[in-house]
């Protein structure tokens, strides 16, 4: 690691006063040298921040903005070929340039980290407890083994692992993702560090688990008094948790300030766009989202001037002259000054006052004066009103009806003679229907049977039990050619834009495949492919490229174009936006809404993100353990959720509004969902139900023995599977 410390800064900050920040990063740059003649990758370009004891700093940015790299640099975890300059000081001591051995003494003891992926964070061959005890022992080898073990059990208890003494001996694979993340946090807390860096700690987890982990991090902060650096792409997560926010874009900090200043008075178009692009779970559907057009620049080929200018709706010629510095709002140089200055001059950030609201935008003063919000500066696309929604729901033709659908997987043992040792109740009797031109969202946590339901429907085969009717035709009685014809009318868009497109095919081949399969003449196919490309907002010259050359959002558009090729009437969307960045997600959501309105499509929208669902869906069905626990009109379900699970789900979603978020009380569910191979008797949710404990004994008896059926409540389009549904106001 080649480093270049800034000696001048060190001298300036040598005073060890009481208010010294615990961690102070100044003018940090990280460059990965390009190999084979590729240009250098400028991952981080002059980032500075500081955190004091007990303070939480949120670093927000999209993928590739350099937010993780900057924290890895602070931890000394970057590969040796990375060129790092600037300064990272921990308690005033310079960390850059320390060798790995010296750094290892700090890591885990003074500064520790929680990683995004809890699956790969633990060694599979050692017990969880031993790994925790090791975290204690490694920094103090004199600790007696027994004492280290006791501390490990204590830590497991602290992070809320039930039966910590016996769970000590469990291996990581016996823990769920949420529990593993708890162990990772316990490990980070083990030696009472002064700084904990959390790199997207909840991204891989379900919402109810995310709420638990955020709760736990609050505990960790209270217990250890550590400064926390919270890296995330989700503006909701940090709103209620952090004190200050640093927004990163293309390797630079573009805005920083107190959490309320950023959320309520952002002065940088990028942050404004990000905030506008997030669908809100607490707000009614209000037209299109605010998309930020374009894609982030490649860190190896940055534009001169402001890196956001190519995507910025209020960019001016001056913005492209030189990169604006991160300065207090309103103190940016005037346009004339910029015009006179040397182009491409390196910006000098204003470092004074850690809490001040600073923004790297030439027009920040103007934005502040005019009190612009995202809606004022971003062009909001108009989405036409769908024609079909004029007719009442009952009069519209049925696109899909699922009745009592069941999908059980056998669990078998043995290789030669397979015996059935159990059953996974993936889908356990669900009913719903979709009418023309409407969107039904299927919502639930991972493992609740959403995807199994989709596969059963898309397979167009006779289900194990129950009926699937597509456009009024029962799939059980379909002949091979009928099934083939029916496939024209229903198509699917997948979650992962990486794996849903064949990497060996050009975009043209991918989009034309359904047309070829269904025997469209060659000339017509060509014309249709180009028409589809335009429809989803891609260029015709994209046709000859391969999927690897596109960004996630563009790839998802290709997937949508392929699904639309045969002019289906029902589109099944399997988490179509969950793998995308917020600003890109808004564009895809708008596209889906526009297509629905123009082509009269019906959507079956599977998602775990309830904010997006509220934005796009007309009706919503909440699934838990292979069953639907609540179904109904989106407005009804969101404003007066009746099932305790729906209430918990809605309550767990963080709202990107610090004031509201702080005022909310979250319902935090205990434990993890039970395994679908071994569901509880009676009501499947009773083991985690927050209401179960408040019921009287005979009522509890009913929950344990009787399975609740989906019954209408609240005199409207809303039905719930709970013996004691609640009639209350929502979020």
């Amino acid at each position: 690691m080649s480093t270049d410390t800034v000696a001048a800064h060190r001298a300036a900050h040598s005073g060890h006063t009481g208010d010294t920040p615990v961690l102070e990063v100044t003018d940090l740059t990280v460059t990965f040298p390009g190999t084979n003649g590729n240009p250098d990758v400028h991952a981080v370009r002059g980032v500075g921040y500081s955190v004091s004891r007990g303070e939480v700093l949120g670093i927000v940015g999209e993928s590739g903005s350099g937010k993780s790299v900057s924290s890895m640099a602070a931890m000394g975890l970057l590969p040796d070929h990375a060129r790092i300059t600037g300064s990272v000081r921990l308690h005033g001591e310079e960390l850059l340039g320390l060798d790995d051995r010296a750094m290892a003494r700090k890591r885990g003891r003074v500064i520790s980290m929680v990683f995004q992926d809890p699956l790969s964070g633990l060694t599979p061959v050692y017990t969880v407890g031993d790994q925790l005890a090791e975290a204690v022992l490694v920094h103090d080898a004199r600790t007696p083994k027994a004492q280290a073990r006791a501390r490990a059990v204590e830590l497991l208890d602290l992070v809320g692992i039930p039966n910590p003494a016996s769970r000590y001996r469990s291996f990581p694979h016996e823990f769920s993702g949420g529990m593993r993340q708890r162990v990772m946090i316990a490990m980070a807390m083990a030696n009472h560090p002064d700084v904990i860096i959390c790199d997207e700690p909840t991204t891989a987890l379900d919402v109810t688990i995310q709420a638990q982990i955020l709760d736990l991090l609050r505990t960790a902060r209270r217990e250890t008094g550590a400064a926390i650096v919270m890296i995330t792409h989700d503006l909701g997560v940090v709103a209620g948790f952090v004190d200050r926010v640093l927004v990163m874009y293309a390797g630079r900090a573009v805005e920083t300030g107190g959490v309320d200043q950023i959320y309520h008075g952002s002065r940088m178009p990028y942050t404004m766009g990000l905030l506008g692009a997030v669908p809100r779970v607490d707000a009614e559907r209000r037209g299109a989202l605010v998309p930020v057009r374009g894609n982030p620049p490649s860190p190896s080929d940055l534009p001169t001037g402001c890196t956001f200018a190519p995507r910025c709706p209020i960019a001016e010629p001056e913005c492209e002259r030189s990169e604006p510095a991160l300065l207090a709002v309103g103190s940016q140089p005037s346009r004339d000054d910029v015009r006179d200055s040397r182009p491409g001059a390196p910006p000098e950030d204003d470092t004074g006052g850690a809490g001040a609201h600073r923004s790297a935008c030439l027009r920040s003063g103007e934005i502040a004066r005019n009190r612009w919000t995202a809606l004022d500066i971003y062009p909001v696309p108009e989405i036409p009103e769908p024609a079909a929604s004029a007719a009442p729901r009952a009069d519209r033709p049925e696109m899909l009806r699922v009745t009592g659908l069941v999908k059980h997987h056998p669990l078998t043992k043995g290789t030669v003679f397979k015996r059935r040792v159990g059953t996974v109740y993936a889908v356990d009797g669900i009913d719903f229907d979709i009418r023309e031109g409407e969107t039904l969202a299927l919502v639930g946590e991972s493992g609740c049977g959403k995807s199994s339901t989709l596969m059963e429907i898309m397979g167009l085969h006779e289900p194990q039990r129950g009926r699937v009717e597509v456009m009024g035709r029962d799939t059980a009685g379909l002949s091979r050619s009928d099934r083939f014809r029916l496939r024209r009318d229903m198509q699917i868009v997948f979650q992962d834009p990486m794996s849903s497109l064949d990497p060996r095919m050009t975009v043209f081949e991918i989009i034309s495949e359904p047309l070829r399969t269904h025997g469209t003449p060659r000339a017509e196919t060509t014309a249709r492919v180009y028409e589809l490309l335009r429809l989803v907002g891609l260029d015709t010259e994209h046709a000859t490229r391969f999927p690897a050359e596109f960004s996630g959002g563009q790839r998802q558009r290709i997937g949508i174009a392929r699904a639309l090729a045969l002019e289906p009437r029902l589109l099944v969307l399997d988490e179509p936006v969950s793998a995308l960045d917020v600003s890109i997600q808004a564009g895809v959501v708008n596209l889906l809404e526009e297509l629905q309105a123009r082509l009269g499509l019906s959507y079956l929208f599977v998602a775990h993100d309830l904010s997006v669902v509220r934005h796009v869906a007309d009706r919503v069905a909440v699934m838990y353990l292979g069953r639907i626990v609540e179904i109904g009109d989106t407005e009804f379900v969101y404003t007066r959720p009746s099932h305790p699970y729906t209430q918990a789900l809605l309550s767990a979603i963080p709202i990107p509004d610090p004031e509201k978020e702080r005022a909310r009380t979250h319902i935090v569910l205990d434990a993890d969902p039970p395994s679908p191979a071994d569901p509880p008797s009676g009501c499947g949710f009773r083991t985690r139900c927050q209401k179960f404990g408040t019921l009287s004994e005979p009522e509890q008896e009913q929950c344990v023995s009787d399975e609740p059926l989906v019954t209408p409540v609240n005199r409207g389009d809303q039905a719930v599977a709970c013996h004691f549904p609640e009639r209350q106001a929502g979020v």
């Binding site: 898309m458 699917i492 064949d502 043209f508 081949e509 335009r534 000859t544 708008n590 596209l591």
Partner: protein
């Protein structure tokens, strides 16, 4: 979002460029890769040597010159003669003709068969999978050398070498087919395969259009190894007199005969070995280039 404004503008009716063609693209990329061009040129050159060599040489393949036994290269014998006075140049070029055919055909047959068996077993699963894999296991445990020895009488005469090609291929596809099956099982769960199935693409088309192209790197590597493997395998058989039967001659036979003189009379060994090396090199170059051309993620293709 710009896309929506764009798409709402009246679509300019087919100002669209014509459909790009995958084959033409591939061809252009192949021509653009120098390794492929050089490799192909070498192969063409070798083929020319193999077919024209015996014609331009004043000697017949089996003919012996009793006045020049084990002699170095002269104007009469361009690459020298062996112990029995046979002309090495004539022998080697005539042998190259058979070896080229055997090597290339065995590689194509064996890899092609392995790819089809493995991919269908992996994709279809169930009874098909078990049946095909049992066949592969059975073929693996068969004593191929004994079978080749028993059938070696059929290798003589017209078309005898074709029987040999088929048998060599029949004994070399099993391991590859198992690899292909494993890869297919992991590819089968990819979303683009699901997408293809849900748009109604039949199973055999999915295998040919999606699964096999996505493992082309493996298949091409396997085929290029198979070329040299088959030539060397045939050499080993010829050494025991079980390979190509005289009066036919193969490069393997010439090399095997010359190997004993490699140190005392290097020319007996040098020329046929050189031909073999150039041939394997050429095949590898073509294979390498083909792999890059087929793989859109390959970095060496990036400008």
């Amino acid at each position: 979002m710009s896309t929506i404004e764009e798409s709402r503008a009246p679509a300019p009716v087919p100002a669209a460029p014509p459909a790009p063609s995958r084959l033409r693209d591939l061809g252009r990329r192949l021509i653009g890769t120098r390794r492929v061009v050089v490799g192909l040129l070498l192969l063409v050159l070798l083929a020319a040597v193999a077919f024209l060599g015996p014609l331009v040489s004043p000697w017949e393949p089996g003919e012996r010159d009793f006045s020049a036994m084990l002699e170095g290269p002269t104007t009469e014998h361009w690459a020298g003669t062996n112990r029995t006075g046979q002309d090495i140049f004539t022998q080697a070029t005539a042998g190259l003709r058979k070896s080229l055919l055997i090597g290339l055909l065995v590689a194509v047959f064996s890899t092609g068969f392995a790819a089809l068996v493995g991919a269908f077993a992996g994709y279809v699963g169930g009874v098909t999978d078990r049946g095909l894999m049992w066949t592969a296991d059975l073929a693996l445990v068969l004593p191929n050398f004994v079978i080749l020895a028993i059938l070696s009488t059929h290798f003589a005469g017209d078309g005898g070498w074709l029987v040999l090609v088929v048998l060599l291929a029949a004994f070399s596809w099993m391991v590859t087919s198992k690899m292909v099956r494993g890869l297919t099982i992991s590819l089968r769960e990819r979303e683009y395969i699901h997408a293809a199935r849900f748009m109604g693409v039949p199973a055999h088309t999915i295998v040919l259009r999606h699964i096999l192209p996505n493992m082309s790197s493996l298949l091409i590597a396997d085929a290029t190894i198979m070329v040299s493997g088959a030539i060397i395998g045939e050499t080993a058989l010829s050494y025991f007199g079980l390979g190509v039967q005289s009066p036919d001659i193969s490069l393997g036979m010439v090399i095997a005969a010359g190997s004993a003189f490699a140190t005392t009379a290097p020319w007996v060994f040098a020329f046929p070995t050189l031909l073999l090396i150039v041939m394997v090199l050429a095949v590898n170059m073509v294979g390498d280039g083909l792999r890059d051309a087929l793989d859109p993620q390959s970095t060496s293709r990036r400008p």
